[in-house]
Structure formats: C-alpha cells, structure tokens
C-alpha cells in the first residue's frame, strides 16, 4: 500500500480535521452532540432561508461528498467511515443544523446501508422536531441492475447534487426540490471501468485482487464486481464498451443535448481521461448528440483505484439552468 496515513482507525477524523482547516472560508465541522464530528456544514447557507440540501455517504470518494458543500451547492455533507454509510445521529444532526422551517432533502447513492441510516435520521427529525425530510436516491450506474430502482449511485451523484442544490437555492419549496432531484436522476446514466483495486487503510492493501494488466468493465466505486474482467484494451475500445450500454439505456438519441463527465476513480491521469473524452465526443457526434458542456477530472473517486467512468445527463432548459447555476465550493466553483 502506498498511502500517506497515520493510524488507520483515525483516517476519517484526521481528514475532516484537515479539510475544515484547509477550506475554512467555505465550511465548518459540526462537532457537538449527535453530529459526532461527522457533519460538514456550509458557512454560506447559514443565513439563507431555503430548503436544506444534505448529501453524504461513506468516505473514500473524495471530493464527493464534502467537496461539494458551499454556496449554491449542498448545505451539509454527512461523512461515514471508509466505504460505509454514516450513522443515523449525524444524519439527524445535519437536519437540525440547517433546517429553516422549509424541510430538508437527503441525496445519496442507493446503497442498503445508507438507506437504513439516513432513514433513521429522517425518522428522528420527524418524531423529535416535526421536520419534514424527503429522500431521493441516486441510481445512475446502468450496469448495476436491470431495475432502475435497484441500481447504485456513482459519479452521476455529482450532477444530481448540483442541480438539486441549485433548485433549493433558487427558493423552490421542498416538493419542487424533490421533483428536480428525481428529474435529473432520471436523465443521468453512468458506467465505469476499473484497472486496479483501491487500497483500504485498515487492511494495508487492496480491497480485492486484480492482476496487473487486467480491467473490469462495470465495476462499482467500492470495488463491487462489474460485468466482465479481461485484459486492458486501448482507450477507444474501452470507451466504446462503456458508451454502448449508457446510450442504449435511457436511451440517448439523435438530437439530444448532454452534459458529459469523464471521471477518474483516483489513479487514472488527466491525460488518459482526455483521450477517453475524445472518444466519447466522437461517439456522440456520430450519434447526432450534442455536447452542451463537459467536465473531465476526479469528481467521485475510489481513493487510489485506477479507472474511470463516463456520465451523461440528458438536458432540457430547466436542467441546463440548474447545472449552470452559480456555486462556490472547495471542489467546484462556477460563476
């Protein structure tokens, strides 16, 4: 393992300590009581009267989730242990901290553990404080299940969090915010490829074995096995194998306009990502699909995993407006 850590049991606390020090203009850490030091709060949202947007999940996917807390984006992120959902009390504490009487929305990837813990947090907010909390699960990973509601959430979470947060910031009520979240989730599809395992600090080594030179198409961001494993192929061939299921799934068709994200899982260089993006753009052009805007970089990682994913969002006027809406966070700012 080639990681710079101290005690493996302290990685999350030490990261959070460093994060709020490094980005003190944007965020602070809620340490009191139920927050248990696991709630990253936006300093900008404090005085803004709006629906609260809370995102979260396990650590190890940075800059997801804490990187997207700030003005025009999420109000709070709830942070779990590595690859593990946060516990119910911090989920509840985030609601308590940001609710302005307009209710809150939880947004996170569709994983059994996250659902259990966030649901318990929402129940507590309802029972103890009468605060309404709605949930929208992100389900963008096309290859993770035939049934859309069973799919897991991966890099597409970035877009769902971004657009939903914009809707809330514009002053929409909770029902409208929920509708926007569902709308962008429905328009978003992602698929990835991995070429190595992330290393787990607690294990001192890789989560799973992968031979040097192998790749796995469709692997999840926690290393969940994908659809097939084989030798690493040229970038264009790999992108072709990812784009085909994505395009067929929604489907994305001639005349559509899309936002594209080519996302590194951590260890794949920006150079490689642009080679992949080139192929994505070629395919989209062949299909008559227009690229509205694109992002290339690491937006939802799996620590030091080598690999990348491609996300497409099918746009309309509303989604463009939401995705173009200004925001200012430590890992994503636009004016």
């Amino acid at each position: 393992m080639k990681r710079l850590i101290n005690d493996p049991y302290d990685v999350v606390e030490e990261m959070l300590e460093g994060y709020v020090l490094a980005h003190k203009d944007h965020v602070e850490l809620l340490t009191e009581g139920e927050a248990q030091g696991r709630v990253v709060l936006s300093k900008a949202s404090k005085n803004k009267d709006k629906v609260g947007v809370i995102i979260g999940g396990g650590s190890g996917h940075e800059p997801l989730f804490l990187g997207y807390v700030g003005a025009g984006f999420a109000d709070a992120a709830v942070i779990g242990n590595i690859n593990t959902s946060p516990s119910p009390d911090p989920c509840y504490a985030a609601v308590k901290a940001i609710d302005k009487g307009k209710g809150c929305i939880y947004l996170y990837g569709n994983y059994a553990g996250d659902v259990m813990n966030f649901d318990m947090g929402a129940e507590k907010a309802d029972e103890e404080d009468g605060i309404r909390v709605e949930t929208v699960l992100v389900t963008d990973d096309v290859i993770s299940s035939e049934n859309i509601e069973d799919r897991r959430g991966i890099a597409g979470m970035f877009f769902v969090h971004k657009a939903t947060s914009a809707k809330a910031d514009m002053g929409a009520d909770l029902d409208e915010v929920v509708a926007a979240a569902k709308k962008i989730n429905d328009a978003t599809r992602t698929m990835g490829v991995a070429m190595s395992s992330a290393t787990l600090p607690s294990k001192g080594g890789p989560i799973f074995e992968m031979e040097d030179g192998d790749m796995e198409i469709g692997m999840g961001i926690h290393g969940e096995p994908g659809v097939r494993r084989g030798k690493i192929e040229p970038a264009d061939r790999v992108v072709d194998q990812i784009m085909e299921p994505i395009l067929a799934d929604l489907p994305y068709v001639k005349g559509d306009e899309v936002y594209v994200l080519v996302n590194s899982l951590g260890a794949t260089p920006i150079l490689d990502l642009h080679i992949c993006f080139r192929r994505v753009a070629q395919i989209l052009e062949e299909k008559g699909i227009t690229v509205y805007k694109s992002l290339v970089g690491s937006f939802a990682s799996s620590m030091d995993m080598a690999g990348m994913s491609v996300t497409l969002v099918k746009l309309d006027a509303e989604l463009k407006e939401l995705l173009d809406y200004p925001c200012d966070t430590p890992y994503f700012t636009q004016i």
């Binding site: 242990n81 690859n83 959902s85 059994a112 553990g113 813990n117 787990l200 926690h222």
Partner: protein, 213 residues
C-alpha cells in the same frame, strides 16, 4: 431446567469475547466481504467493538438491558453502513426482555434472541434465502426455541443445536445468489461465496454458546 439462569457476568463475558473476536477475525470477515461486497465488514465490526470494549467497564453496574442498549448504541453510532443498524439494532433489542434484571431464565434468553433477530429481519427487510445474516440467525433462533421447549433439552445443549442450525444456515448462503445488500447486484457471480454477515453471525452465536455455564 427451570433453575437455569444466565447472570450479568455471562453477558458481560460475551461482550468481552466479542471484542476479542472482532479483532481476531477482522481480516477474515473483510476478505469474505471483498469477494462479493466492499471489503469493510471486518473493519466495521472492529471499529464498533473497540468502542464497546472502551466503555464496557463503566457499564458493568447497570442492568442487563442498559448494558446491551449501550453496546448497541455504540455499534450504531460508530459503525454506520448496514452492519451498524443491523448489529446495533440486534443488541439494543436483545436487552429489552432483560429490563431491570441482573439475571435471566433460559426462556427469557430465547426471547432476547428472538427480539434481536426480529429487528435485523425488519430493518434489513430480509428473510431466509436472501444471502444475509438472517440465513444464520433465523434458523438458529427457531432451532433454539424448538429443541428447548419441545425436546426438553438442557440449555447449553439447546444452544449447541442453535449454533449448528446457524452454521448450516451460513453454509447455505454459499451456493445461492443474493437478494439483499451489495451482493444483490452481482447476480450469479455471488454464487460460491459465503455471505460475510452470515459468517460473523455464526461467530457471535458461538460466543454466546461457549460462554454458557
């Protein structure tokens, strides 16, 4: 066997042994999880039981219910994921039939087990055959009740049967696909792998058995 009791020292001993187990089997549980999940099951139990272990001394003057409520809360708070609410819920509910008590009868112990397993089934929305910890725990509790009440078996002997039923239940997760949890999305690729939650549940039952007088 109506004079058979399990006292508070037994339950404290179980928690102490669980803390040792979580350290010893950390790598084993994580490796099972790596095959069909995300590889964190062992680490998560270790994080949770370290917290239990750290605070157990201060809980010893409490009644059995409070001790398990505290232990369950520690797991829920420190672990997160699926195993936090599941095992945390198990211990929180496990203690409830022993409210205000310093010792329990074996009938009460069976009620405690039933209460714990029921919350896992409810929270995980899982039943036998889904390739989860329920595949171990449900047959174990059913066997415990059956052999103790119907066959009039000695308590420790009954617990042994429960452990065997749980162990067989865990074995039964190997050749099947998963219907819950992360492995659900693997389809046939989950076949041939033991469910990690079912394995940790067997280890937990074994401690309850080993500690019995």
């Amino acid at each position: 066997m109506s004079d058979y009791i399990l006292n508070k020292d037994y339950f404290i001993g179980v928690l102490e042994d669980l803390a040792v187990l979580a350290e010893e089997k950390k790598v084993y549980f994580s490796e099972l999880d790596s095959a069909i999940g995300d590889g964190d099951h062992g680490m998560n139990l270790s994080i949770g039981f370290r917290e239990v272990s750290k605070n157990l001394e201060g809980w010893k003057s409490e009644d059995i219910n409070t001790i398990f409520k505290n232990a369950g809360t520690a797991l829920l708070d420190k672990v997160g994921g699926a195993s936090g609410p599941l095992y945390g819920g198990f211990f929180m509910k496990f203690g409830v039939p022993a409210k205000g008590k310093e010792e329990v009868s074996f009938d009460e112990f069976i009620e405690m087990m039933e209460a714990g397993v029921a919350i896992i089934e409810k929270r995980g929305k899982a039943s036998v055959g889904d390739k989860t910890m329920v595949d171990t725990l449900r047959p174990a509790v059913d066997a415990l009740r059956a052999v103790y009440s119907e066959d009039d078996m000695a308590p420790k002997e009954a617990m042994k049967k429960a452990l065997e039923a749980g162990s067989a239940g865990s074995d039964s997760t190997i050749p099947i696909i998963a219907k819950k949890g992360r492995a659900m999305r693997l389809g046939e690729r989950a076949i041939g792998h033991r469910d990690p939650g079912s394995a940790s549940s067997v280890a937990i039952l074994e401690i309850f058995y080993n500690r019995m007088p």
